[in-house]
């Protein structure tokens, strides 16, 4: 537990210095603020950008950040030093996970400012769960990839699918159906609704299956590769 806090502290210190990860954290919250305030198109659904960008953020930032942090630490051989200092793998991974989650929640907090106050708890709750799934998926890549190059190329397709599926789903029914198997699309439906009332059970099932899959893959990757 102590070591987990040390890892979180270390990451917080690194946040402003680590430009590649920082951009991931800032991009969508900033785009959201700008678009919501600067652009208004007639007939546009209410809070269109907030809702769309929120799920894109969910599919991108936690995934790339978690993968980048873990794989960099392997590439630069700092993880080895942590292990020698008796930091346990789970302490390290939960430190990184909690850190990414906190920063993403802060980003979601920024994005929620356009929402009516009464919707904010629902919004943050749903985002919180989505972030966790993305972090598990990202950590899975981070554990698997020996260095940042490999990590980036493994993350890219996953990230594109997860974050663009909800956007492409708007174009036609076929894509919407296909996109429905991803938690990001389901969470987009939840955000459009802003309440659990009237949501189909499939939605919860899909999110649960996605979550289970991410967690299983995470443990499988960890068992196979450990943190070396």
């Amino acid at each position: 537990m102590h070591n987990t806090l040390v890892i979180i502290k270390k990451q917080l210190k690194d946040t402003l210095k680590n430009k590649t990860v920082l951009i991931q954290f800032l991009l969508f919250p900033m785009l959201t603020l700008i678009f919501e305030h600067a652009i208004s198109i007639p007939d546009m659904p209410e809070l269109f950008f907030t809702k769309l960008f929120s799920v894109m953020y969910m599919g991108m930032a936690p995934l790339t950040a978690a993968a980048a942090i873990i794989s960099e630490e392997k590439e630069k051989n700092t993880l080895r030093v942590l292990m020698m200092a008796n930091v346990k793998p789970w302490e390290y991974l939960s430190g990184v996970g909690i850190y990414v989650w906190m920063i993403c929640m802060a980003g979601a907090g920024v994005m929620s400012t356009s929402l009516p106050a009464s919707d904010i708890p629902f919004y943050l709750g749903v985002m919180a769960v989505g972030f966790l799934i993305s972090i598990a998926a990202g950590a899975c890549v981070g554990i698997f990839a020996p260095n940042q190059m490999v990590s980036t190329s493994m993350v890219m397709p996953v990230m594109l699918v997860l974050s663009f599926a909800p956007m492409l789903a708007m174009f036609n029914d076929k894509i919407e159906k296909a996109a429905g198997i991803f938690y990001t699309q389901q969470i987009r439906l939840l955000l459009n609704n802003m309440t659990f009332d009237g949501i189909k059970p499939e939605c919860f099932v899909t999110v649960a299956v996605n979550a289970a899959l991410a967690v299983i893959l995470f443990f499988a990757a960890f068992r196979k590769k450990g943190l070396e």
Partner: protein, 287 residues
């Protein structure tokens, strides 16, 4: 402090360590010498629990490696050449992370930076350090925890003579504080200067083990005299009466530029024992 009995380790089909027996007493600096690829790093990794081994026994601080507790590990400092730094973070922040993990006060990080002569670069990010500065920062990271047992894998390889001397002094300081040091090196002078005992590792076995000067004396039968002549020629003579006469003659002819008697150093002992030079064992294998 450290004890290994009949330790064997193989990678796939290659036996790297074949029956290492070793005992290292508290408070001494122990140097492990051997050609590249001899298995020095492998041995350190095994003793520090980073690698598993096939057979034999290894005890550190009186316990089997696998039984070392978190508290035990906090007394062991390890510096390996493949250990990294947090590149974007400053020197002092790099140390603070580990101060937090080891539970040592931040004042120690400042002391450690002073000790390795990096106080002026405390705020510099690690990626902007030179090679010698990096080595010293790495050393600061292990010294900061005031270890009882210190492992240094080639602590001075590739460093300039000044930094090297500086690091030697730090290592000797540790010994003065009662720390046991286990180091590996290719540098014979370094081993002779620092170590209370050296062991020569070759082809998976420890082939010689004693105090450095003792090892040299043991192989002293190769005492020779080297003469550089004014004509630019070099000649080598055995240490005997005949040599005395030749030298007299050369001297009276005024043909001697310099004259040395060469005691065997660890380097020559090593060559004699293994038939190969320390640095290029791998090359020799290909030849």
């Amino acid at each position: 402090m450290i004890k290994a009995v009949k330790l064997c380790k193989r990678f796939a089909d290659k036996e790297v360590l074949s029956g290492i027996d070793l005992e290292i007493n508290p408070g001494m600096i122990f140097g492990l010498l051997g050609p590249s690829g001899a298995g020095k790093t492998t041995l350190i990794k095994i003793i520090t629990g980073q690698l598993v081994f096939e057979s034999g026994e290894v005890k550190v601080l009186g316990k089997n490696v696998s039984e070392l507790t978190g508290e035990d590990k906090k007394q062991i400092g390890i510096m390996m050449d493949n250990h990294g730094m947090y590149e974007r973070m400053s020197c002092i922040d790099n140390l603070k992370i580990f101060a937090d993990i080891y539970g040592v006060p931040y004042s120690k990080t400042v002391e450690a930076l002073n000790a390795v002569g990096l106080a002026g670069s405390a705020k510099k990010p690690a990626m902007k350090l030179s090679k010698g500065m990096r080595a010293r920062l790495q050393l600061a990271r292990v010294l900061m925890i005031s270890p009882k047992l210190l492992f240094l894998d080639e602590p001075t390889s590739g460093l300039d003579p000044v930094t090297m001397k500086y690091i030697h002094k730090l290592i000797l300081d540790q010994k003065a504080n009662g720390c046991t040091v286990f180091l590996t090196t290719h540098n014979m002078e370094e081993a002779a200067e620092l170590c209370d005992e050296v062991a020569l590792l070759n082809e998976g076995k420890i082939i010689e083990r004693a105090a450095p000067d003792k090892v040299c004396r043991k192989y002293n039968h190769r005492k020779r005299i080297k003469i550089h002549l004014t004509t630019g020629e070099d000649i080598e003579l055995e240490h005997d009466q005949k040599a005395g006469e030749s030298i007299m003659k050369l001297m009276s002819d005024g043909r001697i530029e310099t004259i040395h008697s060469s005691e065997p150093d660890l380097e020559t002992v090593f060559i004699e024992l293994t038939g190969r030079k320390l640095e290029n064992a791998e090359e020799a294998e290909y030849a």
